[in-house]
């Protein structure tokens, strides 16, 4: 057998990153090529003002996507930085009121490890366990809140399972008790309708590359209301309202703005498209025994489907699926081979978690891609089960 042909892949890993949109790329290369764009946006001369204008335009585009004022947005290097700025920054902003934070055990590591860093500084961190569908109930959140709670951080769409939390309901609980509410929306911005003007959300993180923008740029929404704020983590300049100093990455920010503009225009059609792909995948798996979907079947983003197959070893399944690009049940731990802590929190065994595969789709996915992946998956599961001893089932 020859080495696999790199040119032929079926990419179903949109939750990891998405291909950059051609129009986004054009916007970015325009910024990089145009002599008028090399100005530092902080400079007051005309080159600087032109660069500043592009950044302001991108901020307006993103604000329209989120339903907020442009001045509420701070550009960052991505969702990880936005999560850290939101959690650590807001905690420090409110430290004089109390030192308790609530989050969920299935959050992204960017949230969990930011909370862990605060715990080392003496903060008390409560991690709520979701139910076996991955959902956080308002009752569970209410039980976790204390008089000294300052911040709650709950993601909108889970990156591994696609589970969709009821942000409006959870946020109302926080608002009633004057607790800041942070939402990691890295998997939902540009894909699901979000209106932070309507939502009781104080802080919201996002990244461009999850919705066909460039890697290396994201943003944090900070509500303009009393008692809400963040203390900067970096120091050294007045950029981004002093909350994220450093020369802004013009081309990346322009790319984020273009991706937001495109997403605003085609979100509904994209959502219908991924819903059809979701149904096609699940329909194709219906005849295969020992298959279990991980996460809620009623409250989810249809662009992410996480499936466990009984009697199959995860690493072998991943190799047998090539050239289909998906993520394993190790997900963010894919280098370590450790079973996903997210799936373990949903009550899956090590073996179920390790044999999980995350399929994720986007606007460029074709029905043929799903059909190809289905054929590969069914063949791989069947072949590996045939090799396994009886007790592995």
């Amino acid at each position: 057998m020859n080495a696999p042909d790199n040119s032929r892949i079926v990419y179903l890993d949109y939750a990891a990153t998405t291909p950059i949109d051609a129009a986004v790329l054009e916007e970015m290369t325009g910024c990089l090529r145009e002599s008028a764009s090399y100005g530092n946006p902080s400079a007051i001369h005309i080159a600087g003002r032109r660069a500043r204008w592009k950044i302001d335009a991108a901020r307006e585009d993103l604000a329209r996507l989120l339903g907020c004022s442009a001045r509420c947005l701070v550009f960052t290097s991505g969702a990880t930085e936005a999560d850290n700025l939101a959690i650590i920054g807001a905690a420090r902003f409110r430290a004089h009121r109390g030192r308790h934070i609530v989050t969920v055990s299935t959050e992204h590591k960017a949230v969990l490890e930011a909370c862990a860093a605060l715990a080392k500084e003496g903060w008390d961190v409560t991690r709520i366990d979701p139910d076996t569908d991955g959902l956080v109930s308002p009752e569970a959140l209410a039980d976790a809140l204390r008089p000294d709670t300052q911040l709650v951080s709950i993601m909108h769409v889970n990156n591994e399972t696609g589970v969709l939390q009821d942000i409006a309901r959870l946020g109302r609980l926080c608002r009633e008790r004057d607790v800041l509410f942070h939402v990691d929306a890295a998997q939902s911005v540009g894909k699901l309708p979000i209106d932070v003007g309507d939502w009781p959300v104080d802080l919201l993180s996002l990244t461009a590359h999850k919705f066909h923008g460039p890697q290396g740029v994201g943003a944090l929404y900070i509500a303009d209301r009393a008692g809400c704020g963040v203390v900067p983590l970096l120091h050294g300049g007045s950029q981004e309202r002093r909350l994220r100093p450093g020369t802004p990455a013009l081309a990346l920010i322009a790319g984020l703005g273009a991706a937001a503009r495109i997403a605003s225009g085609r979100m509904a059609s994209d959502l219908v498209h991924v819903r059809r792909l979701h149904d096609r995948l699940l329909g194709g798996l219906a005849g295969l025994e020992g298959i279990r979907r991980n996460g809620s079947v009623t409250s989810n983003y249809p662009g992410i489907v996480n499936i466990s197959a009984a009697g199959v070893e995860g690493e072998s399944l991943m190799l047998a699926l090539e050239p289909v690009c998906v993520s394993s049940g190790s997900a963010c731990n894919s280098q370590s081979g450790e079973p996903s802590f997210v799936l373990k929190a949903l009550g899956r065994t090590d073996r179920e978690a390790q044999a999980a595969i995350r399929f994720s789709f986007g606007r460029d996915t074709h029905a043929d891609d799903v059909d190809f992946a289905l054929r590969r998956y069914v063949a791989a599961v069947t072949r590996l089960r045939a090799l396994a001893p009886g007790q592995a089932a």
């Binding site: 057998m1 080495a3 696999p4 690493e315 072998s316 190799l319 047998a320 090799l387 001893p389 592995a392």
Partner: protein, 140 residues
């Protein structure tokens, strides 16, 4: 293909591992009635790996080897290579199985050594069951 593009294409699996993994000719159970069959099993709780090796002999000669496995591609490939290597050989040559040589040939990462030791365990068990030359010619 350049070294870099080859490394990207292969990932953590050598070409040999990919070949054996894709074509596991010795997976399954031994043919009943084909001779004396010696079967051993081993497992590693940490990874959940389980292997079962069956060796069919006629006298001291290995007529067939079959395996069942729940494990990673390296484990499957290693079992497949063992079967390919020792079918037709004597039980004595199987007893001299060299795990280090096998791992080197397949370029198995060192962090999988514990899992690969399962193969040594089952081979030792099979050889023990089959006994020394002249002993135990009618095992099951």
């Amino acid at each position: 293909m350049s070294d870099t593009s080859r490394a990207v294409a292969l990932g953590p699996y050598s070409a040999a591992v990919r070949r054996y993994f894709a074509e596991p000719a010795h997976g399954g159970d031994p043919d009943p009635g084909a001779g004396n069959v010696w079967t051993a099993e081993a497992s590693e709780p940490a990874s959940g790996a389980i292997i079962r090796l069956s060796v069919t002999t006629a006298g001291r000669r290995i007529r067939a080897m079959r395996y069942r496995v729940f494990g990673c591609p390296h484990l499957i490939a290693a079992l497949e290579r063992c079967c390919e290597r020792f079918e037709g050989e004597s039980l004595e040559s199987l007893a001299e199985f060299d795990l280090v040589e096998l791992m080197r040939a397949l370029q198995v990462p060192v962090d999988k050594t514990v899992r690969m030791l399962l193969i040594e365990d089952v081979i030792r068990s099979v050889c023990k069951l089959a006994g020394r030359p002249g002993e135990n010619e009618t095992g099951t």
